[in-house]
Symmetry: C2
Subunit: 260 residues, 2 copies
């Protein structure tokens, strides 16, 4: 059982043993949090960043009237840097969704690491590029896709990300999210999420009971979501070919089709 961070980084750059050791060695003290708590105040300060080791954490933003948008999920192996927070008041929050344990890594250690091991530098740079790509994809998701597609897409993404760090079991994984949380990440109401989830189940694509997600037909789910794992840049895709995204060859009942 390798550390999720290593697993993640190795999904795009192979690391040497020394590098792996150096990385693990840099990992500092661990803190545990319950579900649904803000970790900003308690998080290590400006001089270190947080590495999620277990659980599920999110970045979110609140509007003055209470609406909430979840901006990103952090799964084990992800690091959430809080650089903005230091420079001035934070313009968003970081909170756990499921109970989580997060380790601090001193910024200084990182600097050292990246200096001495250029491969680690590259890997970390990649990781942040991917994080940005994910945010962009979310924007596409809420901006362009129907409720059905959005949910399907999010589920695909989480499945692939979790699989990349070894947190899946066949076509199943844990997804410890309430429907209200899904709603806030997809820009939908909870009621609509509920009904859309039923549609997904109705199509025989997934089962989602409590925190347990089972994907019955990954290919179909990807098609329904027009999901192409491309942007996650997983799987040793160093010199990948142009490669098509999945073609939408019309596998779904018309009511779930695009619109605009």
């Amino acid at each position: 059982v390798t550390h999720p961070l290593i697993r993640k980084l190795e999904s795009f750059t192979r690391l040497r043993e020394i590098e792996r050791e150096a990385l693990l060695d840099a990992i500092g003290p661990v803190q545990r949090f319950g579900a649904r708590v803000d970790i900003i105040p308690q998080a290590p300060g400006a001089d270190s960043i947080s590495l999620i080791q277990e659980g599920l954490v999110c970045r979110y933003k609140l509007l003055p009237d209470g609406r909430r948008q979840i901006l990103a999920y952090f799964v084990p192996g992800d690091m959430c840097d809080l650089p903005v927070s230091i420079l001035k008041q934070m313009d968003h929050g970081i909170a756990t969704l499921a109970p989580a344990s997060v380790a601090a890594i001193a910024r200084e250690r990182i600097l050292n690491l990246t200096e001495t091991y250029p491969r680690i530098m590259r890997a970390l740079r990649w990781a942040t590029l991917i994080e940005e790509a994910v945010t962009r994809e979310w924007l596409v998701n809420v901006g362009q896709r129907t409720a059905f597609e959005r949910l399907a897409h999010l589920i695909c993404e989480m499945f692939f990300r979790l699989r990349a760090v070894g947190l899946t079991d066949g076509e199943a994984c844990e997804l410890p999210l309430t429907q209200a949380e899904l709603a806030d990440t997809l820009g939908l109401s909870t009621v609509h999420v509920n009904r859309t989830l039923q549609d997904l189940r109705g199509e025989g694509l997934i089962t989602l009971r409590g925190k347990n997600l089972i994907i019955h037909d990954l290919a179909a789910l990807q098609r329904a979501a027009m999901f192409s794992p491309n942007y996650l840049h997983l799987g040793s895709d160093y010199d990948e070919q142009p490669g098509e995204g999945p073609e939408r060859s019309d596998p779904l009942p018309s009511r779930m089709r695009p619109s605009r």
Copy 2:
């Protein structure tokens, strides 16, 4: 008339004369593009980044079935780095909206600059943090806000950004976007953008004819959008106080109010 890049960077860090010169000196050859053309193929390769000097450029993503989401606008002074494009196939495109002239800056020059002038390094880091903050804000926009609020918010943002680089004239500026383009950035249909624009006009908040935007009541517009320029980190806000976002004190007809 200082260069927009300098203006932008100086809106958060004061620079010394030498630093300004060094920056300007690093700016390479300029390329001009017409409206609505992709600049990816022609853009300078991996070894340099693009600095927008004039015009309006965007980052966008296409779905296989033709839907398009605009992910970011680049105004003069913004740099669009295309780091992902090199690593592998680009997962999005960069195109002009209005005719634009963009300069190349060699990556190497940047490295030198940041090494010798730490203040430039900080300024550039800030710039990218802000770019990310803007993306997050867009996600909030499409995820949580009504059509009316979205448009108002986007208009506020563009106005502030353009003002930061000296491209406004009082409460007016150029916003060379078609309604279809607005639609693709806000996740709305063009028809709805049209109607919402009429509402904005109807409220006496703005005038938008062709490329010319006039804001008649900036404060009211900000309130309507729940816009707080905070996230843009403009205005020498080095040690700004906590400061509230604008309170929504109910200035608008009920049909434009929140929802979920």
